[in-house]
Symmetry: C2
Subunit: 426 residues, 2 copies
């Protein structure tokens, strides 16, 4: 019966049908009904496995309530690449606040495509830039969903760029090794994908590394996709220096091969509202995605909401500052807790996650022991994390901790539980 059903579908459906009930995503969903709350459910689950920032929800919600009234135009078809009233506002906001291009350079509205989240755009890039069987090079560890975004529908292979230095810096040697691996596997490399700030490391790439990467991509005539969705979540530039968009480093001269992603999901804590944008100077790509985007359009009403919010410069300055102060507060509570337990981590100055070394809690250094620890933390102290294995981290025992999914009290409670877990091992 089952096989007949699956046979009635296409081979293109196969990757979508594989599922793993023990994945961090499935565990996250299974725990949603028993969430920790300081007063009403102090024994509840503390979820830190999904990269969402809920710390400024109160501020964002209050601002969203002040939305404009619905109009007839919102009910009708419009430009499939984005609402003509939204795109100029988004272009100005990206120029000034996200990419920080300075006064001379600007993002033009016609170089943007607005889509139902950046996932919708990554899917489109996977089909429109690559032939099935091509590959994309990605520094490890990486955001695990990139595998679905590029592999499932586009059939694009992910080739790891494994760092050989403890700082996870991008080096020419590591890039060349990944490139040669792709050639060797007969999976033509067509692009490099980076997340900057980095997910899951919370690191910021230096201008030198980014310019080296652009030169390398241009030399090899391959695309560079820079996912800058955490551009405004920089709470401590002292760690890695300030964030520099690739657009700013290139004086906004992107050329045909550099493409940038940003959206409201992370920096504006609104992943559930589904708004992402691609910024590219490749007119053919923008046109192709514009046509394909009909299937990924954002409700006009939601675009109007963000038109209203993004053009309120005073509010946006306040929100960005307050958001980073709140991220910083949770970060400090988390790292102080880990320090007290003698656990190490990759210091982060950006993003909403910390990459933590939990090897001391494992019976051995292996992916099997990492999986055991992941499930034990869920079972014994109801604390869920993202393991390093799906991020393709080369050393077992590291976990991504998404500490902005909970209140400061939740972070403190998680550290208390982790101490009891650690104590129980002795």
């Amino acid at each position: 019966q089952q096989s007949t059903v699956i046979m009635a579908l296409s081979s293109r459906a196969e990757p979508f049908l594989a599922s793993n009930p023990k994945s961090y995503g499935s565990i996250h969903i299974s725990l949603l009904g028993d969430l920790y709350d300081e007063t009403s459910n102090p024994e509840g689950a503390i979820l830190m496995s999904v990269a969402e920032n809920k710390l400024c929800g109160d501020i964002i919600l209050e601002r969203l309530q002040e939305h404009k009234p619905f109009t007839q135009a919102m009910l009708n078809y419009t430009d499939g690449t984005g609402l003509p009233t939204f795109k100029p506002v988004l272009a100005e906001f990206m120029t000034r606040d996200v990419l920080k291009l300075g006064d001379k350079q600007t993002v033009k509205p016609e170089q943007l495509v607005v889509s139902a989240g950046c996932t919708g755009l990554l899917f489109q890039l996977s089909t429109l830039l690559f032939e099935r069987g091509d590959s994309i090079l990605i520094p490890t560890p990486y955001y695990p969903a990139f595998e679905q975004d590029f592999g499932f529908l586009g059939g694009v292979h992910l080739i790891p760029i494994d760092p050989t230095n403890a700082q996870y810096d991008l080096t020419l040697e590591d890039l060349n090794r990944a490139y040669n691996l792709a050639i060797e596997r007969k999976q033509p490399p067509k692009a490099v994908l980076i997340a900057n700030p980095h997910n899951p490391l919370g690191k910021i790439y230096s201008p030198e590394q980014l310019l080296m990467l652009v030169s390398w991509c241009r030399e090899h005539k391959i695309h560079l996709i820079s996912d800058e969705i955490y551009a405004l979540s920089v709470f401590n530039p002292a760690v890695d220096g300030a964030f520099h968009s690739i657009a700013a480093l290139l004086d906004n001269d992107l050329g045909e091969y550099v493409h940038i992603l940003w959206g409201v999901s992370k920096d504006l804590g609104s992943s559930g509202l589904r708004v992402g944008a691609l910024y590219s100077h490749n007119a053919a790509l923008v046109r192709a995605i514009g046509a394909n985007n009909t299937a990924h359009q954002v409700s006009n009403a939601i675009q109007e909401l963000f038109t209203d919010m993004l053009q309120d410069a005073t509010f946006m300055r306040y929100l960005i500052a307050e958001n980073n102060a709140r991220i910083q507060k949770n970060y400090l509570l988390l790292t102080q807790g880990l320090d007290a337990l003698g656990l190490t981590y990759v210091p982060a100055g950006a993003g909403i996650f910390l990459f933590v070394n939990l090897q001391p809690l494992m019976r051995e250094v292996s992916y099997e022991a990492e999986r055991e620890l992941h499930l034990a933390l869920v079972e014994k102290i109801k604390w869920s994390l993202t393991p390093g294995e799906p991020c393709k981290h080369t050393t077992p025992g590291y976990f991504r901790v998404c500490y902005c999914w909970v209140s400061p009290a939740g972070v403190v409670e998680a550290m208390k539980r982790l101490k009891s877990f650690k104590d129980s091992l002795n």
Copy 2:
């Protein structure tokens, strides 16, 4: 330069890069800045080339203003197949009002996937049910965008089911001819797609034809996709009889091969808010689309708005009745105008369009003359229509008239202009 740029994209991008400035869609967009208004712009363009119903915008907008406040949950990720609060309400509304299943049968929430409009779902069906190079059989004339929805990304060939009778009825002979054509072309037929009520004809399929079609599909083990997006736009059942959903005719026993589409775009005049749903009993298909749907999700806030509206049964009854009364009014103004000019059309009792024979205004019966007339109507009387050629109608000279894009006064004005156009030919 141009070819280098295109070479940097994938061959999968090619269909998206073809464009035709003289297409009815491009003409529609070019005229949006000069719209007819009875008082402020009486010489403006009257657009009747795009299937949108704006007649009840006033009622819908008033209801949308009463939306619920934004909540933290709206800002966060949720079930990618649709909001857990929306799907049960949608399932109940579809059971009772759209599919009219009676008291015994129900649509289950887990058999629905909510996506950014039905276009998002047609795209997904094109990739998940078909291999590249397979074919889908479609009765002509058809909604032209089906070519993009199935062909561009999915690489699915459209094989016409050309009717051989004046009533455009579905017959076994026509189905078999299309099937054999697909086999002959080595484009394996995997599905039949119908729009019921029919677009562009505004006809309703009879229960006998639908049951014949289901039997035929089951016998050939191919899918049946029933696009029922105009299910609630039935303003005169006296023309073709009442609308019957395939789900109701099958006593809701859809099996693995029958899939139904509905959304808010047409019946609730909200194409700009982007909400469509797939209803299927094929658990593997629902699961595959559920996973793929991450890239096509609808903003939670919009799903909440429709949760609120669809569960208000009193309002929905009123809206549906009023909408059909207003469609009927515009239909009568249009057909009376055409009658007075001696022009014929396919009588319609549903949908928001009329298929009109404008051969008497052409110098000869050819697609070239049809294209000339299309452009002449735009140029000389600023009246835009959808020609029959992109709908693959086998006889040149027919046009789809979308008469719900304008007010009653707009219909009257269009008929006045058409008379002057006709008179100028003599």
